[in-house]
Symmetry: C2
Subunit: 911 residues, 2 copies
C-alpha cells in the first residue's frame, strides 16, 4: 500500500496522468493532465488520487498524511521550480489553489480553497512583488474567510444566522458608514483580517494557522471530508454515484488576472453556443478575477474583433468609442489573443466538440484554467453536430449521439427575446408543463379568453385547474397557467398536445375567478394585466416580454432523416384534429397513435347533443340513440378529415373515454343555460349531475365501461369510423383505421366491445357494398390488463400502453393531485423522478414488460405501442425500444424528440 503512487504531477507540457485516468484522478485532474500533454499552458500542480480519499476515510488524517508526505513535498518543490516562486517564502511566495474533483461531475457539491500559502509575512512579500497592497490584503482577507469556513468549520450555527465573517464585514461597514465592499480601504481590509483571526481564535480555541504546510494539509483533508458532507451525499444518492468512488484533490499554482492592466481573465466558446455557428467567441475583463466576468458588476468585453464590432453595433456604440472604451482582446493583447485562438482550435480538434474554456492572463502570460464540452441551445446542438459531421470530424452515428433529444424541444417553440428576459421579474414558479414562451393579458375563464381573442387580444388563461369545458378557451390562449395539477394534469396534457406553453401547479397563485383577480404574494393582478410564461422552465413573469418564433433549418431535417435511418421504433402522434395531424406529419409522424374522440364533443352543437344523450334516463336507450344519431354525421366528418390528413398512415382512434360528468356543467349558471337549451327544468340537470358525481372519477365509470353499459355509444362511434373510412377510400385516400378500446381490465370486456364493433362494421359494409380493413385493439392502462394480457391478446390485434393511467394506478398517484406531495418526495429523494414524466422502469415498466411478453406469447405478431405522455420522453422511449414495442406515439411537438430518442435507443441497444 505504501508503494503505490498517490500524487500525479502536471505542468510545463508534462503530466503523470492523462484523460483516460478519470477514475483515479477525477474528471478535473485527468483533464488538467491532458491539457498539459497537448502542450497547453496550464498552471502547474498535482492531483492526489481518488483512492487516497478512500484510504483517508478508512485510516484517518494522520496515517494518510504520513503516506502522502513525501510525494506532496516533492510535487510542491516541482511547482516551485516551474513557477519560479517558493511555497512559504516571504519574498516571492507561491500561492496554491485546492479543489475537489470526482469521477463524475458534482458541481458545487464539494469545497475549494484559493490563495493558500498567504500569511502576514508573505503578504508583505507579495505587496513588494505586485505593488498592489489592496489586491494582496483583499486576497488574504478572502483566504482567511474561505479557510475559516471550509477547513475550520466557522459556519453559522443556524441557517437563519449570518455567516460569522460576513457578520464582521457588515459591522465594519456600519461603523464606517459604507454601503459597498469596494469602499473598504487597504487598512480596513487589514483590520478585517485581524478581526477574522480573533473570531477564529474565539470560536475554535486555536490561532489561525500561519504555516503554509499546515494550511495545505488542512485544505487537502477538508476536500476529502467534503466528500461526505450532506450536500454531496444527497447528490450521490440522487445520481447513483457510489460512496466508495471518493474524490481526488487538485493542488495548483495560483495565477492572477487582476495583477494590473497586462492581466485579464475570460471565458470563451469555440463555436457560438446560441446558434452553433463556427465562430470563436467569448468575453473577458482586464485586471479582473474569474468571478468578475460572470458577476455582472463590470461590463465584460468581447474577445474577437468581429464579435466586438457586432456587439457595439447592437449597443449603438461608435467605433471610436468602442476601440478606446471596449476594445477586443484581439486588439488589447494581440499576442495573448493569437495564442488563445490557436489553443481553442487545438482544444476543439482534440475533443471533437465545441469547447467552453476558461483562461487567465497574468502579466501578459496566458494560462488555461479549464476546458469542457460547452453547453448550448437546442439550435446549436443540431447545427454543431451536423457541422462536425459534414466537416468529417465525426461520423453519422456520432452526430446522432451528440443530440440530447430533449434539447430539440427548444427548437419547436417560441422563446423570449434575450433583451426582454434580462429585464423581467419572476413572480411565481410552477411546473414546466408544456414548453415555450408566451406573453399576454390575463383572463380567468375560457369564455373570456374567446371573447378577448376574438377582438384580437393576446391572452393568457389563468385557472385553478382546467377541465374539458375550457378547451376552446385554451385553444385561443397564447399560454395557460394553473394553480393546481401536475405534469400530466388536464391543462398540461392538452397544452402539450396543442404545442402551447403551459405552467401548471403554481401553488402560490390565489385565483378568484369571480372577482377576476390573481393574487401572488399580496400583489393583485387583474383581468387585462400582462404576464409572461416560460413553460420550459416554469417561470411566471410580470408584464409583457417579446417572444421569437422558432425557425427550423435544413440541418434539422437532415438530422431527422439520419435518426429514422437508425431507429427501430416508428414514431406516431397523439392528435385529435386534422390540424394537429398535419403539424405532426410535418414533424415526421408516421401515423396517429392516439386520437381522442372526446375532444370532438365540445364544439358547438355537439356538446348539446352529447348532453342530450347524457340526460337520457339510465334505461331510456331510445332517447340516447336519438342524441347519438345527431352526433354521428359530425363524428364521420371528424374522422374523414383526420384520415385524409394521415393518408397512407395508420390512425388509432380511441373510443369515448372520460366519465360522462365531464360533459355536463357543474356551475348553477351553466346548468340553467343547459336546461334552457334543452328545454327542460334545471332540476333534471342538477339531479343527473349529482347522479353522475364520482368520488374518484379516475377509477370510475369511464372507458370501455361506458361502451359496455351503453353499447349504443360504441355502435355510433364504430359506425362513424367505418363510414368515414369508406367515404375517403372512395376518394382515393389510403385508410388504415385501428379502433382502440380504452380501460380494458379483462378479456370479456374487450370481447364485448369487439363484437359490437364487428357487427356494426359488417352492417356498414353491407350498406356500402364494399369493405375496408381495420384492426381492433386495446389500451393497456389498468394494471390488471397487463396481468391478463395473454387472455386479452386472444382477441385484441394491438396493444397501446396508456402509461399515464397505468402510472396513476400502479403508484396510486392521482395526476391531478400529486403536486401536493410529489415535490416533497423528489426533494427527500423518496422518488428519483416524476414517474409521470419518466416512465418508472422498476414498477410500471415491469407491468409493461409483462404485458408485452404475455401478449406476444399469445400472438407473436401483436402490434404494440405506447400513447401515454411518456411516448415523447427520451428515457421512456429507450425503454419502449428495449421491451420491443413497434412504435411510440406522442404529441406533435414531441415527434422530433421521439425520433432521435428512438435512434439513440437503437444505437445503444441494437435494433
Amino acid at each position: 500500500m505504501t508503494d503505490q503512487k498517490r500524487v500525479y504531477l502536471f505542468g510545463n507540457g508534462k503530466a503523470d496522468g492523462k484523460a483516460e485516468m478519470k477514475n483515479l484522478l477525477g474528471g478535473k485532474g485527468a483533464n488538467l493532465a491532458e491539457m498539459n500533454l497537448i502542450g497547453l499552458p496550464v498552471p502547474p500542480g498535482f492531483t492526489v488520487t481518488t483512492d487516497t480519499c478512500t484510504e483517508y476515510n478508512k485510516l484517518g488524517a494522520d496515517k494518510v498524511k504520513a503516506l502522502l508526505d513525501n510525494e506532496v513535498r516533492q510535487a510542491v518543490a516541482q511547482i516551485e521550480n516551474m513557477m519560479g516562486a517558493q511555497f512559504g517564502s516571504t519574498a516571492n511566495p507561491l500561492l496554491l489553489s485546492v479543489r475537489s474533483g470526482a469521477r463524475a461531475s458534482m458541481p458545487g457539491m464539494m469545497d475549494t480553497i484559493l490563495n493558500l500559502g498567504l500569511n502576514e509575512a508573505a503578504v508583505t512579500g507579495m505587496i513588494k512583488k505586485t505593488g498592489n497592497a489592496r489586491f494582496v490584503w483583499d486576497s488574504y482577507r478572502r483566504f482567511v474567510q474561505m479557510y475559516g469556513e471550509v477547513v475550520l468549520g466557522m459556519k453559522p450555527a443556524d441557517k437563519d444566522e449570518a455567516d460569522p465573517f460576513e457578520h464582521i464585514i457588515d459591522e465594519m461597514k456600519k461603523e464606517k458608514g459604507f454601503t459597498s465592499d469596494l469602499q473598504l480601504s487597504t487598512a480596513d481590509l487589514q483590520e478585517l483580517v485581524k478581526r477574522f483571526k480573533t473570531a477564529v481564535k474565539k470560536q475554535t480555541g486555536h490561532d489561525f494557522p500561519d504555516d503554509p504546510w499546515e494550511q495545505l494539509w488542512g485544505s487537502v483533508f477538508a476536500v476529502f471530508n467534503s466528500w461526505n458532507n450532506d450536500r454531496a451525499r444527497y447528490y450521490r444518492a440522487m445520481h447513483n454515484i457510489p460512496e466508495e468512488w471518493g474524490t481526488a484533490v487538485n493542488v495548483q499554482a495560483m495565477v492572477f488576472g487582476n495583477m494590473g492592466d497586462t492581466s485579464a481573465t475570460g471565458v470563451a466558446f469555440t463555436r457560438d453556443a446560441a446558434t452553433g455557428e463556427n465562430i470563436f467567441n467569448g468575453e473577458y475583463l482586464i485586471n479582473a478575477q474569474g468571478e468578475d466576468v460572470v458577476a455582472g458588476i463590470r461590463t465584460p468585453l468581447q474577445i474577437t474583433l468581429e464579435g466586438s464590432r457586432r456587439w457595439a453595433k447592437l449597443q449603438n456604440i461608435e467605433e471610436t468609442d468602442r476601440q478606446t472604451e471596449y476594445p477586443s482582446l484581439e486588439e488589447a493583447m494581440p499576442q495573448a489573443y493569437s495564442e488563445l485562438f490557436a489553443i481553442q482550435r487545438k482544444l476543439e480538434e482534440h475533443a471533437n466538440d465545441m469547447q467552453d474554456i476558461e483562461f487567465t492572463i497574468q502579466e501578459g502570460k496566458l494560462w488555461m484554467l479549464q476546458t469542457r464540452n460547452g453547453k448550448r441551445t437546442g439550435a446549436a446542438v443540431v447545427k454543431i453536430a451536423m457541422d462536425l459531421f459534414r466537416e468529417g470530424r465525426i461520423n453519422e452515428t456520432d452526430a446522432l449521439k451528440r443530440i440530447e433529444p430533449i434539447k430539440l424541444d427548444e427548437l419547436l417553440h417560441p422563446v423570449f427575446s434575450k433583451q426582454g428576459l434580462a429585464k423581467a421579474t419572476v413572480i411565481a414558479k410552477g411546473l414546466p408543463a408544456s414548453p415555450g414562451a408566451a406573453t399576454g393579458q390575463i383572463v380567468f375563464t375560457a369564455d373570456a379568453a374567446e371573447e378577448w381573442a376574438k377582438q384580437g387580444y393576446k391572452v393568457i388563461l389563468v385557472r385553478v385547474e382546467t377541465s374539458p369545458e375550457d378547451l376552446r378557451g385554451m385553444d385561443v390562449a397564447k399560454g395557460i397557467l394553473t394553480a393546481r395539477g401536475g405534469m400530466t394534469s388536464h391543462a398540461a396534457v392538452v397544452a402539450r398536445g396543442m404545442g402551447k406553453c403551459c405552467i401548471s401547479g403554481a401553488g402560490s397563485l390565489q385565483i378568484d375567478a369571480r372577482s377576476r383577480t390573481l393574487t401572488i404574494n399580496d400583489k393583485v393582478y387583474r383581468e387585462g394585466d400582462w404576464i409572461s410564461l416560460d413553460g420550459t422552465k416554469g417561470n411566471v413573469f410580470e408584464g409583457k416580454i417579446e417572444t421569437q418564433d422558432p425557425e427550423l433549418c435544413g440541418d434539422f431535417a437532415e438530422l431527422m432523416t439520419l435518426a429514422d435511418k437508425y431507429s427501430a421504433l416508428k414514431v406516431r402522434t397523439n392528435a385529435d384534429t386534422p390540424k394537429d395531424s398535419r403539424i405532426a406529419r410535418q414533424f415526421g409522424a408516421q401515423g396517429i397513435g392516439l386520437c381522442r374522440t372526446e375532444h370532438m364533443f365540445f364544439e358547438g352543437d355537439r356538446i348539446k347533443a352529447m348532453r342530450e344523450m347524457i340526460l337520457a334516463k339510465e334505461d331510456d336507450m331510445t332517447a340516447r340513440r336519438k342524441a347519438l344519431d345527431k352526433l354521428l354525421p359530425m363524428q364521420i366528418a371528424d374522422f374523414e378529415g383526420i384520415f385524409e390528413a394521415m393518408d397512407g398512415f395508420p390512425v388509432t382512434i380511441r373510443l369515448l373515454d372520460p366519465p360522462l360528468h365531464e360533459f355536463v356543467p357543474h356551475e348553477e349558471k351553466n346548468q340553467k343555460e343547459m336546461a334552457d337549451e334543452l328545454g327542460i327544468d334545471i332540476s333534471v340537470v342538477k339531479e343527473r349531475v349529482i347522479a353522475l358525481h364520482e368520488q374518484n372519477p379516475m377509477l370510475g365509470h369511464r372507458g370501455c365501461r361506458l361502451g359496455n353499459t351503453y353499447p349504443e355509444i360504441t355502435e355510433m362511434q364504430a359506425r362513424a369510423i367505418v363510414v368515414a373510412a369508406l367515404n375517403v377510400t372512395q376518394k382515393g385516400v389510403k385508410v388504415l383505421p385501428e379502433i382502440m378500446v380504452p380501460l380494458i381490465g379483462n378479456a370479456a370486456e374487450f370481447k364485448m366491445q369487439e363484437a359490437i364493433i364487428d357487427e356494426v362494421a359488417e352492417q356498414v359494409f353491407a350498406e356500402y357494398g364494399s369493405r375496408i380493413e381495420y384492426l381492433i385493439g386495446t389500451m393497456i392502462e389498468v394494471p390488471r390488463a397487463a396481468i391478463v394480457a395473454d387472455k386479452i391478446a386472444e382477441s385484441a390485434e394491438f396493444f397501446s400502453f396508456g402509461t399515464n393511467d397505468l402510472t396513476q394506478m400502479t403508484f396510486g398517484f392521482s395526476r391531478d393531485d400529486v403536486a401536493k406531495f410529489l415535490p416533497i418526495y423528489l426533494s427527500k429523494n423518496l422518488l428519483k423522478n416524476d414517474p409521470f414524466q419518466i416512465l418508472d422502469r422498476d414498477g410500471v415498466g415491469v407491468l409493461v414488460r409483462m404485458a408485452v411478453e404475455k401478449g406476444r406469447k399469445t400472438n407473436p405478431n401483436l402490434k404494440i405501442g405506447i400513447c401515454g405522455e411518456h411516448g415523447g420522453e427520451p428515457n421512456s422511449v429507450e425503454f419502449c425500444h428495449i421491451v420491443g414495442m413497434n412504435y411510440v406515439s406522442c404529441s406533435p411537438y414531441r415527434v422530433p424528440i421521439a425520433r432521435v430518442a428512438a435512434a439513440l435507443a437503437a444505437l445503444t441497444h441494437g435494433r
Copy 2:
C-alpha cells in the same frame, strides 16, 4: 359407435346406472338410478346419456334417432310393463315426463315436458280410467301448451309481447268474464286445446302431433337443443361448465297426486332445516300436484302428527278441528306415511346428510320423485354436522367439510321474526353490505342519530353516503342505509366492522337531509318513520319488524375447536377499539391484524386537536407538533386498552392512513362551528379545506405519504405505541406490537418511516430505561408495492395485504363509485364476481402471489397476512392459504367464518 349403450333403464328396484355415473347420466339420472338400487319406489323410466347429447350436437337429429331408436323402444316397453299401461294406448295410456339433467346442477336453465303421450284418443281413455274429465283435459291443455312452447318454439316474438298460449287463455277468460283459470269448465279447457292447436298450425304450418312417438322424439331433442339455449350458455359461462359435457335426458312414467282423495303430494325433510333438530318433518296436500304445495293457494298440511299438533297450537286451532280439517299424513294415510318414514331414514343413512325429498301418492301408492341434500339455515348447518359427527355417521373432517362457512354469518347477527317478515313489504333494494336485521326510526344525520339514541330511541341512519364524520352516529344506530356506495364503501366497511346491519347503494332512494325526507317511488318517509333493513339480502322494508338476537350453542364452539385443529392460517381481526377487540377474542381471533388509528381521531376533543394540526400552515411544523402533543396522551390510552384486550396476542397498528380532508368539515355550518371552536376566522378554514381538496382522494395525499411529508405525525404515533406498550408491560400484560406503514409504493418510503419509528422507539426506551420487542412492516396495497416487494422486504418485517385498495388500483375501480356499473357488469357476465367481495385470483391474486414470492425470496421468514375485507370471505381465505400466508384478518363477526374457511382450505390443499 353404434355399439355403445345410450339408454340406461331404471325401475322396480333395478337400474342400469348408479350414483357414481353422474358424468354419463347427469346428476338427476344417476340419482334416479341410485334410488332404485336402494329399493325405493321410483316411477320407472330411462336416461339417455350425456354422450348422446354430444353426438346429437355433431350428427343432428336424424342420425341420432337412428342410433337410439331400438334402445328407446325397448326401454319404453319395459316401463309399460312395470306401470301396466301402454304408451300410445287409448284405453290405458302410459304418460311420460321428459326432463334434462346435466353433470352439474343447472337449475331452471333447460326444458321439461310433462304429460307426454296424450292426444284426443288417449284423453278419452284417461277420463274413463280416472273418472276425472276436468283433470284430464287440464293435463292435455298443459301438455299442448308446454310442448308448443318448448318443442315447437311457440314463443312471443318480442319479450314485451304475451306468450301466445297465455294470450288465448286471457281472451277466453275475457269472453266468459272469468277472473281465474279455476273458473274454466271442462268444456272450456277442451275449447282451449282446440284453439291452441289452431294457433300452432297457423304459426308453424304443421298440425300439432298426435303420435306419442313423434312427441317423445320431439321432446328428447328439445332437451338436447336446450343445452345450447341462451340461458344455458350464459349459466355455463358463469359457472365454468364446459360446452362438451352435454345434458342427459330423463324419460319417466308420470304419476299423479291429484287423482282423488287417496292421492297426495308433498315435500319433507329428514331433519329440521331451520334448527337442525333430528325431527322428520314436511308438508303435503291431498289430491294435488307438486307445484300446489309451494304455490300457497291451499294451506299445506303437516306430515307428522307431532308436527301437525305443534302447528295447530301456533295457529290456535283446536285439536278436534285439526283432526278433521288439517290431519297429518300420519293420520290420513297411515300406511303411506309409515312407508315414507322408513324411506326417509334410509335415504338419510344412504346419503349421510339431511335430505330434502319429494314424493307423490297416487291412489294410495307412494312414489319417490326426488331426494337431495336439503338446504338449511346456518344454525342447522352447524347442528346437523355436529350431530352426524356425534352419531358416528361422519368423521370430524367430514363434519368440517359439511360447513359452508358463509352460512355461519346467519348465526352471528339478529334476524327478523318469521311472523313479522311474512307481513312486511319490501320498498327498496340495495347491496347487502353488512348482514343482520335491524328495525328503527329514520334519522338523516349522525347528530340526530346520537340525540335520538340518547333518548332511548332505536334509529336507522339514512344517508346518501357516510364519511368518517358520521362514525358516532353510525355507532348508536341499529342499522345504516345509504343511497350510494358499493360493498366496500365507507358505510359498508365500517358497519361490518361494527357487526351492524347495513344496506348500501340503494339507488332508488332520494334523500334530502335538509328537509329530512326520504322519497322512494314518490312515497315520502320522514324523520321518525319506522323502517327495517335486512342487511343479509339487501331488502329495505316499510315499518317495524320484530328482530331476534342470535344464540351461539355448544355445537358452535365445538366446531370452532375442530376448525382450528386443521387450519394452517391463523385468524386475526380488524379492530379499532378495546370493545371490538374483546368481541373478536370471544369469536376466537388470535390477534389484531388491522387497528386503524384514524377512527380514534373523531371523538370529543380529539377531532379538535386533529383539526388544529391540519389547519397549521404547510411549513409550520411547530404548530403541528403542538396539536399532536395534545393527541399523544389519548392515543396512548387507546393503545393501552387494545393491548390489554389482546394480552398475549400480536396487535398490528396501522399508522394514519386517510387524507387529511376527511377530518375537516365540508358544510359551511360545520366549518363555522370549527372556526369558532378554534378561535379563527372561517375563511382560514375554508381556504384550508379548498387546499386539501383532491380530485381522486383514493390516489391522493394519504397513507405513508402523510407520514413522509409530515414526519411529526409518525413520530407522535410511534411514541404513543411504544409508550403504551411499555406501560401495559409494567402491568404484566404481554404485548406484541406490529407497526404497519400504509400505502408503501417503494422501499425508500418504507425506510424513511422505519427510521423515524426506530429513532422514536430508542428515545422512549432511553426515557423508560426498558425496552420491548416490536416489528415494523407494511401494507401491500399499491400495485407497485407488489412489484418491488423484494426491495421492500429488505427492511419490512411483515407484509399485510390491503386487498381493498389493491383491488381498487389493480382494476381501476373506485369502491365508492363502482356501484354505477358493477351490477351491469355482473349481469352481462363481464365479471364473474364482485372483486371487492371475492378476491380476484387472476388479476389481484397474481400481484399477491408475486409479492409473497418476492418478499419471501428476500426474507424467508417474512410474516405475511391479509387485512382487506377479503380476509373474512371463504374463497379468498382459501387463496390466502394456497399462496402461503401466515394469517388472515377480518372484522370480528367474520372471524368464525374465516376459521372454518381456513380449516377447509387446509383440508383441500394440505397444510
